[in-house]
């Protein structure tokens, strides 16, 4: 699956499992958070990615990390 801050482009090109990353300059992090909070965020992003990998999806499906 694909983690990107620009899920619309990924969907247009035909990527099927797309997860919105935090930002273009740091898709799997957030420099405005304290180290511990950022580690938690990265873990949540990867957990959501794993959830998407273990879920059947239709074409061009994009999820948010949420929480």
């Amino acid at each position: 699956m694909f983690i990107t801050a620009l899920p619309t482009i990924a969907q247009m090109i035909g990527a099927n499992r797309v997860l919105r990353g935090h930002a273009i300059t740091s898709p799997t992090g957030d420099p405005s958070l304290a180290a511990g909070d950022e580690a938690d965020l990265r873990r949540r992003i990867v957990e959501r990615a794993l959830e998407m990998l273990s879920t059947d999806v239709g074409p061009s499906t994009a999820w948010e990390v949420s929480r």
Partner: protein, 340 residues
């Protein structure tokens, strides 16, 4: 004729990648390439600008702002770009074009034919095809000015081939004097002598989503990235743009991507944040934690990297096929691909 010109932060002179987060702004008259349009006979009344990252990450807000200005100005034509091979800028141009088109404003853009902005425009814009870099500026500007002038003054525009723009995905039935069989033979004979032409453009190939992984806990996962993450010093010289290669690096014994040992050389975004912690591009530390907890079976022993900047679609597809042909025999069942 009232003409509005849309530019990103770089062409509006606000800065490079570090200014990519700029909110939309409105400037009187022509800026940067807009002056070239004026020299080519298209006076610019207002320039609108937005940072590429701001547009990509706050699209509804950016569009609302830009469209409300368009509503006040009521231009006869909108020119977006030229955005050449830039994906984020092209996407912003195409999306703005689409929305302006829905409000009855003719739009001219200019970018490479496989820029995501072409799809985003959904046929609303007359897009002049360009090369991938600013080197195309000199030829693009007169072509844009010509088309924009036509559209802005309500003159009819001919077919894509006649007037030098990309097909907009609109189908017009025409009657030809020769039947299909004769045209097919003529096209084949032309192809055999090196002149390839087509009556129908090909669409993107679509891949069916693979079924869900049943048991993540026994699955082998691989990390792949187009964010240009490489060992410090880029020892194998990954090109920072127009890359013709991807690279593979070992992850055995590596628990996290430390800034001392890894960096990003991607020329398409501001890498300072990522270079303070490369796990912000390739989330190795989090994957290792989840691997230790048994949430996945194992992480594949290598990660794969390239820098996706002005990468033609055909080249990117080739990279994907080549990487997949290593991952599959190695027993990898799932991939997390990260990108900007």
């Amino acid at each position: 004729m009232i003409v509005v010109h849309y530019l990103n932060q770089f062409f509006a002179g606000l800065g490079g990648e570090e200014a990519a987060g700029q909110a939309p702004a409105r400037i009187s008259g022509a800026v940067g390439p807009g002056r070239g349009l004026e020299a080519a006979g298209l006076p610019i009344d207002v320039t609108l600008t937005c940072g590429d990252d701001f547009f990509g990450e706050h699209e509804p807000e950016a569009l609302a702002r830009l469209l409300s200005w368009l509503g006040e100005i009521e231009p006869d034509v909108l020119v977006c770009g030229p955005s050449f091979g830039s994906g984020r800028y092209g996407y912003a141009c195409g999306s703005f074009a689409r929305e302006a088109g829905r409000r009855g404003i003719p739009v001219v853009g200019a970018m490479t034919p496989d820029n995501p902005g072409v799809l985003a425009a959904e046929g609303a814009a007359y897009i002049v095809p360009t090369g991938p870099s600013v080197a195309s500026m000199k030829t693009a500007l007169p072509a844009i000015a010509r088309l924009a002038h036509r559209l802005g003054s309500g003159e009819p525009v001919g077919s894509p081939a006649e007037d030098g723009y990309l097909p907009r995905g609109l189908r017009k039935n025409v009657r030809l004097s020769e039947v299909g069989a004769d045209r097919a033979i003529a096209a084949l004979l032309a192809k055999l002598s090196g002149n390839v032409r087509t009556e129908v453009e090909s669409a993107f190939d679509r891949v069916t989503a693979p079924p869900a992984i049943g048991d993540l806990g026994s699955c082998t996962l691989a990390l792949v990235t187009e964010a240009g993450c490489v060992p410090q010093g880029n020892p194998d010289h990954l090109p920072t743009r127009h890359s013709n290669i991807w690279l593979r690096y070992p992850l055995s014994g590596v628990g996290s991507l430390s800034p001392a040992r890894y960096e990003s050389v991607h020329a398409g975004f501001d890498t300072r944040t990522a270079n303070l912690d490369p796990n912000r591009l390739v989330p190795l530390d989090a994957v290792r934690t989840l691997e230790r907890e048994g949430r996945i079976g194992r992480l594949h022993a290598f990660f794969y990297t390239t820098a996706g900047v002005d990468t033609p679609m055909a080249v990117a597809a080739k990279f994907g096929q080549e990487i997949a042909s290593e991952l599959i025999p190695a027993g990898v069942q799932a991939v997390i691909l990260t990108g900007t």
